[in-house]
Amino acid sequence: MLSVAGLTKRFGSVVAVDDLSFEVEAGHLYTLLGPSGCGKSTTLRSIAGLEHPDAGRIEVAARVLFSSADRVSIPAHARRLGMVFQSYGLWPHLSVERTVSFPLEVGPRRGRPPREEVRRRVERVLAVVQLSGLEDRRPAELSGGQQQRLALARALVMEPPLLLMDEPLSNLDAQLREDMRLEVKRLQRELGVTSVYVTHDQAEALALSNRVAVMRDGRIEQVGRPREIYERPGSRFVAEFMGNPNLIAGTVESDGIVATAHGPLRAETSGRRPGARVVLAVHPERLTLREAAPEGDPLHPNELRGTVVNRAFHGDTVEHVIRVGSQELRARCDSSTSIPQGTEVAVGLPPESCRLIDD
């Protein structure tokens, strides 16, 4: 559906997007995830035609939008892609209705639908985003969530082959953001519109996407389904970016055993040779925690001794910070487990939850 090949964009001496290639299947929501400055927005704006890449090829539904080799560059307004901007870009002088009908009124003259159809399509898309009845409002008279929906409606009304979304939820407060996250997902799945979504919020990426591409320095570090990215990060960068603080350096000792500063730990080594340098990663919610005095309470296999140094109640979970040797591990327990600061504990790292990353 969307195919990007060899995309490169430099700003002066800075390479923002570095020989980037990826494909998006029809109907999928594909997320470009990464920290600020990783090139995700530049990639999206290049697809949109708002940025002029230095090299590469962009195709949507077999139509070449950009190709440096063939010297093709279709201007942004002729690409007919839908886009939702981070700051929405809602026109303060146009009502809801006029905003949504705008894309149907400005295309090439022969492609414009008759007035009756414009009205029907505007009505339909406003119903889809649940803005019916607000046709005469100005953007300033809408709530944050409604503004967001309006921006979506404007992008969807011309039924684009591809929808581009640039951090569309980052201007909303936390509760609304979660609601809109589900709303965007519902709309995208119901309409089946192929989408590229840019965000720096890993939770958003996991919740929405069919595929997530984690970007770093203008390149894709790893692509996969959300669960793959979360559970089997391919690099220390991806693991850290997905919010995993429990990374323990070590070397493979033998099949199924990793030597670490805290002693040997069991983990699936997947055929890595002894001596291979690895990072052992366990998500906080997978750690087990029990009180265990250094004398009298022997350790089970794959348990480490530590001391609770901090604890925070989150409502549904309790987060514990445990000092183990020179390292701090985090354990997220359900709210029935709450161990006071200073307590000696045994931290369990279940072997089936321990993932190895090549270091």
């Binding site: 949109a48 035609g49 708002l50 201007p75 942004a76 307004h77 002729a78 690409r79 007919r80 892609l81 839908g82 886009m83 901007f85 981070q86 700051s87 929405y88 870009g89 809602l90 026109w91 303060p92 002088h93 705008f102 894309p103 400005v106 295309g107 100005r138 953007p139 300033a140 809408l142 503004q147 921006a151 404007r154 992008a155 011309m158 581009l164 980052s170 201007n171």
Partner: protein, 578 residues
Amino acid sequence: MAPDAPHGRGAAMITAARQQIACRGLEALRRARIAERAPFAAVLVLVAYLALVPLGYLLWHALSAGGSLSIEPIRAAFRRTGIGSMAVSSLVFALGSSGVALVCGTSLAFLTVRTDLPLRRVVFAAALVPLIVPGVLYTIAWIFLASPRTGALESVLPVDPFGMTGMILVEGLHLAPLVLLLMAAALRSMDGTLEEAALMSGAGRLAVLRRVTLPLARPALYATLLVMVLRALESFEVPALLGIPAGTWVFTSRIWQALDGFPADQGRAASYSLPLLAVTLIGVFLYSRLGRRSARYEVVGGRGTPPARLALGRWRLPLAALTWAYLLLAVAAPLGALLYASGQPFFSKPTLHGLSRITGSNYSAIFSDGATARAFGNSLLLSVGTATAVTLVMAAVAWLVVRGRFRGRWLIDALVSLPLVIPGLVLGLALLFVYVRFPVPIYGTLWILFIAYFTRFMPYGMRYAAAAMHQVSEDVEEAARTSGATAFQSFRRIMLPLLLPALAAGWLYVVIAAMRELSASLLLYSPGSEVVSVRIFTLYSGGELTQLAALGIVMTTLLAALGVAAWRVAVRVRGWPG
């Protein structure tokens, strides 16, 4: 009851003590309030005196005959001249010159801010130069350039500067840089996402311009147009120098004529002032309404992107040529004419041959001619003095208005802004009424000019100071207080350093504006208290054109230096007003 008695007495004592403390507290509070209110009241009295008393005198003189209210003087004044034709030509002049300014200024703003015009920074800076040149000088430069027989461009540009067409063109070209400044700010602050969203919706570049950019710029355009119309209505130099010789009369030139004749007819001048004052009052009212309406245009959402520059493509060079032609005509030609004349022993039509006669005697005359040298001294003293006084007083007033918790703060704000509606000539006339028979000898000294300048420029000082204080959040001050700083310490060590750049920018603005002031000064100066702009005007009347040109060049250079300094300071102030 007995066991209760001490208890009851105790309670009563406690209550009494509490009341006493409360009373003492209230008393302290009351005293603190008075202490706070005293400066507030003082400020209120000061600005009310400055803004209202002259207007009161003016109204009285215009609306009284033989000590009682009457509209007879007004009727007489207009029976003599006919209000109809004067109102029409005032309007034609104001709208015409605003139109010229708006077209030139907005085109330049768009080209320099939103396109890839070559050398756009240079074009922008050069186009602003006439803003610095005093109106009297710019007008005289155009007389040098275009007047029949002696004008340098007379054969190239066959437009008679005297009469309505010349007035409209010269005033329009002189106002254009102000439009450029206002519209450039509006275009620059536009959120580029709005245009990108239109592009993504399938609108081509022209459709984006027509359907998004232009409607968004419309509030700024209306506001700018209104400011220009008001400026042109108040303008004195162009109607006096280009209109009177051709018999084209507007309100300001009639006021001047009534006062310039012998004997001066101040009552008639006051009568002509009233309609002008009414129109400017309506204009400023409309302007404030416009400001409130444009709040509805406020852009929603968070951070946007700066707007993209339009690639001009094959129009790039033709448009560049057009802007350079404009700069040649509006900037280089008038300044060139002045520069040429300033080096000549006598005024004549510029020729290459004339360059062989070049002399520096006009420049040395600035210092050897007693009147000119004195005027220079007076101008410097007055503008620096006024700017300093306005900045200091208005900083305090702004602090009271922005941070104070008094009812009636709006009243101070309104009174301080009132002089904005008073044309310079009218203010001068009103101050004449007040101080001619004043018990303290103020008329005939520099003090009356100081009062006039202070009154005229206090709105600007207030704006700079208030804008700066709005930008320094209250938290900053409160953080200083909770860190243990006294009110004075927090003002001196936190507020003052934060406000200083904005106050300095405001100070420079007032220095420049005061140096250029002509219309009020012309009515209020007496022998010995001339200022440079008045000296230029009298040199022109006396036909000493080459000495005038040299004085003008020196003054423009000085103002340009001040202007560059003001710009430098202002750039360091985030979001500077205007």
